[in-house]
Amino acid sequence: TAAVAVVQTSFARGLQIGLPDVPDDPTKRMGAPPGQVGTRSGFEKLVKSPSDISSRSPLQDFHGIITPSDLHFERHHNGVPVIDPAKYELIIHGLVERPTVFSLADLKRFPGVSRIAFLECSGNFRTGKETMTPQEICGLTSQSEWTGVRLSTLFREVGVKPKASWFLAEGGDAAVMTRSIPVAKGWDDAIIAYAQNGEALRPEQGYPVRLFLPGWEGNASVKWLRRLELGDAPWQTREETAKYSEPIKEGKIRQFSFDIDARSIITYPAYPVQVQRGWIEIRGLAWSGRGKVARVDVSTDAGNSWQLAQLDEPVLDKAHVRFRHLWQWNGAATEIMSRVTDETGYVQPTFRQLLDARGPDMGGYHLNPITSWQVKADGQVLHKPENWR
């Protein structure tokens, strides 16, 4: 009968296909039935931009503050490993009372915690030409809800000794990534994370388990975590010496600059968008690794005057915040830019201010300058490149 046909034919169950042929009038054709796993609409083409070593999130395409997990930026030092969660183990040893090995199931039994926080690579800055998108300029930042066990809970479980001041976090990837982290961060807010945006971590983000250090440079949140060793001094691994360190003034090289400095960027309008005269809602993201965003100011006259932007709730600690500023564009060429202030009083600097403070040898990490967009008289929006090297 017809009724049976409705249920059993029409579409296959399970994975739903994104883009079947488009009916002239969708109200006159039965739609796809409920499925097991949804898919993005076939009309939406959201992609990260991969290089050999990283892949950048399409910030200009995002709304709100959550990054879809499959579009979270990637940075890894020898690819994404395949780790069987049933064989997964985390070992904690060194200056502890009870060296212990935890299975994934063990970790999930401990009291957990979830929080929404950003993760940014400290090498997240590019400039140099006008035809650059937010994704190209700073697509190495993303935000998720992270769930896991507090590292402090595991520290108590293994009995971290009082003289332990640093720990080594080691990944089980082909780079066997290592970073030395102050034990204080472990007692403070570090998470041994096993979930992201409600589900297991994605492979690119450390499946099945990663370290997550809220507000700190992404490299330190070691993925595919296999080992924590407690010690009394940093290990001086290659990542914290040859890499992720930055030349500053007087020939010095700064290392262990973990905090992500407060930053904001306008993601709309931005290259390659062309705008029309009239009302424009300027939108963007702002964040700080040192706490909450206190305010975001927007300038639509090349930095001569600034106006307070609105922030969507919730404004969370060490989290991307969505800012909005309504602007009536009169059609004259100008520059627009945003500037965040965090709750410690840190004000996002200009590139020139950074260069003045760090000197001509300034390194490529922890660059968080105010980013200007040139709005041309024809509505074209172009990046305003910084004058560097």
Binding site: H77, N78, I91, I92, H93, R98, P99, T100, V101, F102, D106, L107, R109, F110, P111, T153, R156, E157, L168, E170, A174, A175, V176, T178, R227, E229, G231, A233, W235, Q236, T237, R238, T241, A242, S245, I248, K249, G251, K252, I253, R254, Q255, F256, S257, F258, D259, D261, R290, G291, D342, T344, G345, Y346, V347, P349, Q353, L354, A357, R358, R389
Partner: protein, 165 residues
């Protein structure tokens, strides 16, 4: 919403004791004071052979140039910023051993013997002018190698507020 910090036990008892053998299997890190360095030794001459066979394709003949970056300091061309290498940028010699052992060669990570890593480390330190050609590098000598960049390294001293430097 009012929440209450609950009575958390000292220990939950989840997880299993890690045996010395289990730890040893993973405990490959090397510290600046040499803790973690294995037995064995190697010379620059031995390393040169290995380097040409396993490394030069990516890091250039003699560790200069190559698609994945120089490892050896050369006189910088006028007006060009010198490439960061072991000789001019690495603060600890132990890191060379640690990193090569865990991560190189990039396409065959974890494939080198400790002896080979000593030899390659000796080769790169010598090529950077940091040890003598004849040095038989081992766990005792490696931590004593003086690295030119070491005094330049300072920890971050910024603590929020207006400081942007």
């Amino acid at each position: 919403a009012d929440t209450l910090i609950q009575n958390v036990p000292d220990r939950f008892g989840f997880g299993k004791p890690a045996s010395p053998a289990q730890i040893a299997r993973l405990d490959i890190d090397v510290r600046p004071d040499g803790v973690g360095l294995p037995a064995g030794s190697g010379t620059s001459a031995q390393g040169a052979v290995l380097f040409a066979a396993k490394c030069a394709a990516c890091h250039g003949p003699g560790g200069v140039g190559g698609p994945n970056g120089s490892l050896v300091t050369t006189n910088s061309t006028a007006g060009k910023r010198p490439e960061k290498t072991i000789g001019n940028y690495w603060p600890y010699a132990t890191t060379v051993f640690d990193y090569i052992r865990r991560a190189m060669p990039f396409n065959q990570p974890g494939s080198l013997t400790d002896k080979e890593v000593y030899a390659l480390t000796a080769y790169l330190l010598h090529a950077n002018g940091l040890i003598d050609e004849k040095t038989e590098l081992d766990a005792r000598l490696l931590p004593t190698v003086k690295m030119p960049a070491q005094p330049r390294f300072v920890p971050d001293d910024r603590r929020g507020g207006p400081d942007i430097h």
